[in-house]
């Protein structure tokens, strides 16, 4: 493969001069150690502390000895693996179809695909219960069909029996369904950014050498996409095993690690912080192992190439195009069902907690009055946090790819730590660490920004890393040898080439920040309530009409800017997203 080199890609280091990236590495380390390692260490140390204050592994012994705890671990591993497989199986073909073939309405489609990532707290999973629960709309429909076919079963169904076709949505099935349709956009975003940065010359060369399109895809394109596919799969896996909301709502009594940690920790009457810390360490160890496997796999094959040329869409036979179009719109339609249910129910008249079919705008009239400040807060906080994530993410991603080594691997591990901790528990760690000396952040807006940045930074980093793997160091070396300084080279050569990854990382970060609830609920203060806090307040106040209305506003606030952005970028130039 042209330009795929095995030499250590250390660009921009003029011989005999100090490498400016050393400073960036030191800075990133200090920052992450202080903001991530310090609060988490304070919290997690209690897992190895015995009652008498000494060190002990007794908590871990108890964790693996008791079936109650072990089951949560096994459930998390199962759900994580299933969701990751399904998201990859949906996201990769979808990205290929949308990026490569002329699927009509691309700008709209790309904006719609991102939308499931905005799962307004508690609302998305409720929608599935509304449709497929024991009294769901679809369940009732199926029951009627089933009884029509098997009249003898009527009595059993009426007494609360299940239609054998679907069983129950509660438990692992529901969690996997909700999370798969919520998270596949991660794989889509990363793979499509990567697809648009593949040098078309490689595929063309393979074609010219006589390989058929399928063979080219299999032996050239897919290997080139591996960093993006694995990066997306990793995000999905980490997100799934750390997911708390869906498991809480449709898990019923199916306990996974985050719900276990949450209930051990957050409790009206105290809780069991030591066992909660132990369960967190187990989750952390599991995710670190997966992260290491991914790094090891990618490190074995460097996938660089000189991708300064962008590819054009290729005309494809009409039949294939129709198939791709049907697939893309089909996936999007199914994954948008929860959002659609939310928007539809937001127009239902409500009396107290009860919604009845009909049409009214009363839910909106009530919410708009009080939403001005939360809307500003959400927009402001997500903008600042995304900006910080992107700047830090670009620097860290560059270090990870261009300066591979033990030190940077440590940075990667550090970065992923907050992923393995439920947001609420992370918030508790932050309050404990920054609720007094050495640095007082609680009661200020800074603590919200810190929590968003450390929790969402991995998205920005993964987004950029996937694309950076495609950029051959030789391009940067050429710039340096022509006399440009490393900084100028980075700014004028590397940064523009990374743009697709930066934008996909920024979108993932932004969408995840704007709908964050689990740490916000413990950290927000004074006037700094956000849209997601408003939704949560309405949910716990049993005001489901109001919650649906605010959720719809939030969905629109994400969808409209994305649509405008995609349309403005134009159909052909969609390679930025």
């Amino acid at each position: 493969m042209a330009g795929v080199g095995a030499r250590a890609p250390t660009v921009g280091r003029p011989r005999g001069l100090a490498d400016p990236w050393q400073g960036a590495l030191a800075f990133s380390y200090l920052l992450l150690l202080f903001l991530i390692a310090y609060p988490l260490a304070r919290l997690l140390l209690s897992s190895v502390r015995a009652e008498d204050g000494g060190l002990s592994l007794a908590h871990f012994g108890k964790f693996f000895a008791m079936r109650y705890y072990r089951a949560a671990f096994e459930h998390s591993a199962y759900v994580g693996a299933m969701v990751t497989l399904l998201c990859t199986a949906i996201g990769v073909p979808l990205a290929a179809a949308v990026a490569r073939w002329r699927v009509p309405g691309k700008a709209l489609l790309r904006a719609l695909i991102v939308l499931p990532l905005v799962s307004p707290p508690f609302i998305g999973a409720y929608s599935w219960i509304l449709l497929l629960g024991r009294s769901g709309w679809i369940t009732h429909l199926l029951e009627r069909i089933y009884v029509a076919l098997h009249p003898s079963a009527a009595a059993a169904i009426a007494a609360g029996g299940h239609v054998p076709w679907i069983g129950t949505i509660y438990g692992p099935k529901g969690i996997i369904l909700a999370l798969t349709l919520n998270l596949y956009p991660f794989v889509f975003l990363m793979v499509s950014a990567s697809l648009s940065s593949i040098d078309p010359a490689l595929e063309e060369a393979a074609g010219n050498l006589g390989a058929r399109p399928w063979r080219v895809f299999r032996t050239v394109t897919v290997p080139l996409l591996m960093p993006a596919i694995l990066g997306g799969a990793l995000l999905v896996f980490l997100h799934t095993v750390a997911d708390f909301g869906s498991a809480m709502i449709i898990g019923e009594d199916y306990l996974v690690l985050p719900t276990l940690i949450y209930t051990l920790f957050v409790n009206e009457m105290g809780g069991e912080p030591a066992m909660a810390a132990t369960a967190s360490v187990v989750l952390l160890a599991g995710t670190t192992i997966v992260l290491l496997i991914e790094r090891w796999y990618i490190a074995r094959r460097p996938y660089v190439m000189s991708a300064v040329r962008r590819r054009a869409e290729r005309p494809v036979p009409g039949g294939l195009r129709a198939l791709a179009t049907a697939f893309a719109y089909g996936v999007v339609a199914v994954s948008l069902i929860p959002a659609a249910v939310v928007v539809i129910t937001s127009f239902f008249p409500s009396s107290g907690p009860i919604l009845r079919p009909g049409f009214t705008t009363q839910n909106y009239a009530v919410v708009f009055e009080s939403l001005r400040r939360p809307m500003f807060n959400s927009a402001f906080l997500s903008f600042i946090s995304t900006l910080l994530c992107v700047v830090l993410g670009v620097v860290i991603a560059y270090l990870l790819v261009r300066r591979p080594g033990k030190l940077t691997a440590g940075l990667d591990g550090l970065l992923m730590l907050p992923f393995a901790i439920p947001g609420t528990v992370l918030a508790v760690a932050l309050i404990a660490a920054f609720g007094g000396p050495p640095l007082l952040l609680t009661g200020t807006v800074a603590i919200l920004v810190v929590s968003y940045v450390i929790r969402r930074l991995p998205y920005a980093v993964r987004g950029v890393v996937a694309v950076l793997h495609h950029i051959e160091p030789a391009v940067e070396e050429a710039s340096v040898s022509l006399g440009a300084s490393p900084w100028r080279t980075f700014r004028r050569v590397t940064l523009p080439l990374m743009a697709p990854g930066i934008v996909s990382g920024a979108v993932m970060t932004w969408v995840q920040v704007i709908s964050e609830i689990s740490s916000t609920i413990l950290l927000y203060y004074g006037q700094w309530s956000t849209m997601s806090v408003e939704i949560y307040r309405k949910v716990i106040s049993d005001n489901f009409g109001g919650a649906a209305a605010v959720s719809s506003v939030l969905l629109a606030a994400v969808f409209v800017p994305l649509l405008i952005f995609n349309a403005w970028q134009g159909e052909k130039a969609a390679d930025l997203l």
């Binding site: 409790n267 309050i431 007082l440 930025l576």
Partner: protein, 350 residues
């Protein structure tokens, strides 16, 4: 390289666009806010009350104390207690208002005892209960059962705790986990009081748990029953009544053996930043004006002798209290009862 240059230009345009949008946002926002009131006093209230209750009381507070701005942090009792607990190095909240009483009773070190100006008007039944406790009574909440009238005919409806053990409710009874929810713990302690803390009593509780779906939070019980996800559930009166008032197909049942009737709690946070304003607020919410408004408009039972029962609810004296149930006893035995319950449920799963 031409496409790379196009990209960089597009990228700059993009950043410019984002900047313009942000500027517009800031402009729109600042147009809507007056200048900050310098030097005005503040109060941070952590509350698990429903939004409409908070709104109604905020309005009254703004009229009564216009110079003290009230900042509300609303969340579930779990999050509220967790917040107070994690902020203990540097408390940011002043009072908790309308949270489950189990929290402040279990964590007295976080709260500072306070006797309100209104304590004389509080019914002796409740002021006796809170003697020595770091919290004050707010509204009165009986534990109850709720059933879905579409799924259960009135003649089949449960009447007692014992009825919950009937095998026909298998998988159809909703109950919140008592190791997570304070109200669910009180319901468990009520069952222990009713059936006895002995082999036979726990066997009966085991039969009930074999029917139950254990939900992670108490709010999911009445919603699940109203939505028809469960036929019946164990819950508490004020949230169940919201569904009755909303004309959901549900009915409330007060078990014939008797039930726990408890106040929810207000309390002063130890080391809070605005203690003077906080005490004023605690007097205010227990005062006659607020309690009467809550009873009349929002159907909440008052802890005061001079406020009558809300319209539509049976008088509190007509609801039988479980004779063996005692709040302090239930708090003292919490760890023990929860462990017994966990063993019971684990045994059922295996």
């Amino acid at each position: 390289m031409s496409s790379a240059f196009r990209t960089v230009h597009r990228f700059r345009e993009f950043l410019l666009g984002v900047g313009v949008i942000l500027a517009l946002l800031v402009g729109w926002f600042s147009a809507g806010c007056g200048p900050g009131r310098q030097g005005s006093r503040e109060l941070a209230v952590y509350s698990a009350e429903k939004e409409e209750i908070i709104l109604a009381v905020s309005e009254m507070w703004a009229k009564a104390e216009p110079s003290i701005r009230m900042n509300n942090i609303a969340a579930g009792t779990q999050e509220i207690v967790q917040r107070v607990l994690s902020e203990k190095r540097h408390p940011l909240g002043d009072v908790v208002w309308g949270i489950g009483a189990e929290g402040p009773s279990a964590l007295p070190q976080l709260f500072e005892p306070y006797e309100t100006q209104e304590r004389k008007a509080v019914d002796a039944r409740w002021s006796q209960m809170v003697k020595g406790e770091p919290w004050q009574p707010n509204n009165i909440v009986p534990m109850c059962l709720i059933y879905n009238t579409k799924l259960v005919e009135a003649k089949d409806a449960p009447r007692s705790w014992r009825d919950l053990a009937d095998a026909r409710w298998k998988g159809r009874l909703a109950y919140a986990a008592p190791d997570k929810s304070g109200s669910a713990y009180t319901q468990l302690a009520t069952m222990v009081a009713v059936f006895g803390d002995n082999g036979a009593g726990w066997k009966m509780i085991g039969r009930i748990m074999a029917n139950a779906k254990i939900l992670p939070s108490s709010g999911k019980v009445p919603k699940g029953v109203a939505d028809g996800e469960y036929a019946l559930g164990v819950t508490y009166e004020n949230v169940a009544n919201l569904y009755v008032l909303g004309k959901a197909p549900v009915k409330i049942v007060y078990p014939v053996e008797g039930t726990a009737i408890l106040p929810d709690a207000n309390a002063l946070i130890r080391g809070c930043p605005h203690p003077k304003e906080a005490r004023r607020f605690l007097d205010f919410v227990q005062g006659k004006a607020v309690q009467e408004m809550l009873a009349r408009k929002l159907s909440l039972r008052s802890c005061r002798t001079d406020v009558s029962d809300p319209p539509g609810l049976p008088p509190v004296d007509s609801i039988k209290a479980a004779p063996a149930f005692n709040f302090r006893w239930s708090v003292q035995h919490r760890k023990e009862f929860i462990e017994k319950w966990q063993e019971l449920v684990l045994g059922l799963q295996q």
